[in-house]
Amino acid sequence: MPKGDKLPRKVAIVAGGLTYFSKARKDKTQEELAAEAARVALFENDINLSKDDIDGTIVSYFSDHFENQLLFGSIIQDYLGFNPKPSVRIEGGGATGGLAIRDAYAHVASGLLDVAMVVGFEKMSEVNTAKGNEFIALASDTDWDFPIGGFYSGYYALMAKRHMEEFGTTEEQMAMVAVKNRNNAQYNKFAQTNPKMNPYGMRDGGFITVDDVLKSPYVATPLKRLDICLMSDGAAVAILASEEKAKKITDTPIWIEGTGAGTDFMRAGDRPRTVAGVPILPHEKKEWYKKLEYPGVHSFRAGREAARQAYKMAGITNPLKQLDVIELHDAYTSSEIQTYEDLGLAKYGDGGKLVEDGVTAIDGDLPVNPSGGLIGSMHAVGATGIMQAVEVFWQLQGVAGKFHGSAKTQVKGAEKGLIHSHAGTGTYVTVGVLGR
């Protein structure tokens, strides 16, 4: 920012809403799912805000292929009754939701909007699972990586194998991530794998053990069925407001204290392998990584860059100590471990140990994915990054238990949280720091 320019306006999240997530919500259309989440946001949060107070929307969905409808943003805008106010569609693969939250932040911080509704959705059930995987694979390079039979579980398996080779990460450590997230989801009524509380939940969901994960069939070695996230139908809504408005809307606005966005080469193989190339965070020492080739295919430079920006903006100098709760993009158990390292929660190479030591468990020092994340709760792509923002918003307000239908998911006394949204093989990543 040039000298003399004013800082952007402070921006808060003031309300959030989710749908029940499911492998197939055949009972509702996309716009009906959006309305379900919007109703929760507007009517179930403790706010002084009416629908007419919303100045515009940011609509977040990933795939025109899944929806078989171009310009779906317009359908959402008119179905929710916001015409003729401004609206924009955001798309950025798996990070679509995180980018939409960041875009809403920019709209409000700049003064273009005072109160913005972010609406994310995806309906992935209208094609079969193999076709769905093929559509997602079209978000890899279709000249080079897709024609050889590449698809996302394969790409992440290649990266996970390299992480194991480089650092000694084990399949057991990955399984522990699956168990943590899946079992957290059993206390969240919105979660797809929770058949007890979610009327649309997976019938064969429920609690799992490390043994269940290790015995589940390989999808792409070393990744097994239970190491891999869900495909979901559902929607999520977050409402953001300027400082002046936020204080009138709620007694407990949750401030967006930092935002960052990073990128990397579309094809993971094109990424450099620079010796000692790790961008160092404030609490790290250059000599830790003097022999490490970075980022290669074992680490996500985009995630590190997004974290670096968000931490700088929010004054985070020791994330493990300063953060109380995290919702991150656990598309794979391996990528949760990789992301611990990108976010600076553990040294590069020590991510597996962090979950093994229980640090990221619901009762650990820094709970990660208390909602169940993408493995336990949902991955309705365009809604995912918004779900994470809503979850951390509820955590910091202290109402997560109320919304989830169980006090078990509430991280007690949480004051500062982080959201992390991730696309491609680490192609776009956003990080946000939220605070009470």
């Binding site: 000249d143 024609p147 050889i148 039979g149 698809f151 194998k161 999808v219 094809r267 193989g269």
Partner: protein, 147 residues
Amino acid sequence: MTEVFSIDPLIIRTPYEIDYRHSYGKTSPFFTSLSEGKIMATRCNHCKVTFLPPRSDCPYCLGETEWINLSGKGKIHTFSTLHFAGEKFLKDLPFTLVYVELEGVDTLFLTRLKTNHPEKVKVGMKVNMKISRQLEWRSSDIWAEPE
């Protein structure tokens, strides 16, 4: 007649086909030279970086790159055997994907590994790139085999 799966809610079949005419642009020589038995990459002589997949323009300096020939020798950087895939490739399962460190190339090349002994595959294993005799003008026209 529209095929109906369910009445409440009403669920119908909606097929959709697309026929693209896709240009490889300036990277076309990679594919056409395969018929001469050559595997080529591009090199930025300014940045001294060699790319495969080829890039016509260097992402580091935005200068134009030049074609070079490769030996096709390399070693495995990482690998995975797939037991599931996108719909189009289900018929090929199981198959093994590898990132190869190719001689003279700075990027890693993602390709299939064809081997009769998948249990012997490991990181660091030496491989040679092979070219299909029936070119389909896709990246699947080349693959790796153990040396």
